[in-house]
Symmetry: C2
Subunit: 213 residues, 2 copies
DNA sequence: CAAAAAACCTACCAAGTAGTATGTGAGCCT
DNA sequence: AGGCTCACATACTACTTGGTAGGTTTTTTG
């Protein structure tokens, strides 16, 4: 009965559904997907399994939705600054900056995104799960392509110089995604602190370490 | 009975112990630590649990040893090039290059290292496991410090410019470690191919993306 | 306000897994 | 040759965990 409530559409509508997502994200970040039991997530919610299975048909779907929400926020952060009259290098910098800030401010969600789909490549059994998986991989690639496109523009308008755009973008995104490993917000941290950190990171990416000479 | 065969000493002596480590590393890379059963590792070895438990007292210890071996190879790759008469920037470049090559050539081991200790920070129950964990974290920090030290030298001798050495090093190492996510060797890949990729990565890190001007 | 639907909770099961206890064959030492 | 140890294999247990079936409470709707 009930049947089609899931499908590919995000299920973050109305209710406290987002609470489930964040609770799951925190558990997944701290212990990893497999080490996290549904009861763990429920306990963090102050509820029981029943609540979770009311909204998600399986643990896998829950993971997928966390991943989706994380990617959604990534796009939300980056797309507004990718177009404009500035040289491509400036826009790319802004995109990196936004992405870094998004990583810090949605740490749990993004940690799950980073932890990633790789682990599920082998375990996904049902055809629907495989389709969902393919969908998520596509979204990931699309996100990376956003950066690649602007980087190419930069090569053409002369504001960016690199021997290989694809590698350079992977290097930059790796540097930023690595935040999910080492960054943890300090107790009394402000938005300013995060912006300073983001600027340092973007500075490193754009200027490199070699002293000009 | 038997008792102290483990302890902190590496257990990669004589026999085919290294086979167990690499089989475990491959499983952990593909499925993650928790999703990998001891039977999975044994199956990949063409053996049974008995063989593994003959050398390792627990799954956790097996993981620890994989991690240790991965870090050992990292040090092995990097330390030979960190000292010398060249300016610090050149030496740092060489270290990055070596680390990138090590990532590619020990992919499974290094993927486990990256997957990391974070996940175990919470789950480690026994006192001995906690001590081992602390040890591994120390080793990680020491590795990062290697780069920081040379980077500081570079700031002093003027060959390196950055607003924050610590952040810059984390950015660079993140970029390289990210290889474990996206890099997969192509069928007929040669050592030259890997060196070309490593050089591109190091180039991106040292020169940045901004065109000089 | 009654009835239906949504939003949960409780109790349970089947499957999988870390770890153990015991067995066994091959080599080695004396 | 006989004993001993190493290097595994086999068979089992105790426990965890994803998922389900059915009940109960709260909210919405007619």
């Amino acid at each position: 009965m009930s049947s089609e409530k899931s499908q590919l559409s995000p299920r973050i509508d109305k209710t406290g559904n987002i609470d489930i997502l964040t609770a799951a994200a925190e558990c997944f970040m701290e212990q990893g997907y497999h080490a996290t039991s549904i009861d763990d997530v429920a306990r963090r919610l102050g509820a029981t399994k029943g609540r979770i299975y009311h909204y998600y048909r399986s643990k896998t779907e829950l993971f997928f939705d966390v991943h989706r929400e994380g990617m959604r926020r990534n796009f939300e952060a980056v797309t507004p600054v990718m177009k404009g009259p500035e040289p491509a290098a400036a826009r790319l910098s802004a995109m990196f900056r936004q992405h870094a800030l998004s990583m810090m401010e949605n740490l749990a969600l993004e940690a799950v995104v980073v932890q990633g789909v790789e682990m599920h490549r082998f375990g996904a059994t049902t055809p629907e799960q495989r389709r969902t998986l393919a969908e998520l991989m596509t979204v990931r690639n699309d996100f990376e392509s956003l950066f690649k496109r602007v980087a190419y523009e930069g090569v053409e308008d002369g504001s960016i110089r690199t021997s290989d755009v694809s590698v350079a973008v992977k290097v930059a995104l790796g540097a930023i995604n690595w935040l999910s490993i080492w960054y943890r917000p300090r107790p009394a941290e402000t938005r300013d602190d995060r912006e300073i950190l983001a600027d340092k990171i973007v500075g490193s990416i754009m200027q490199g370490l070699n002293a000009p000479g």
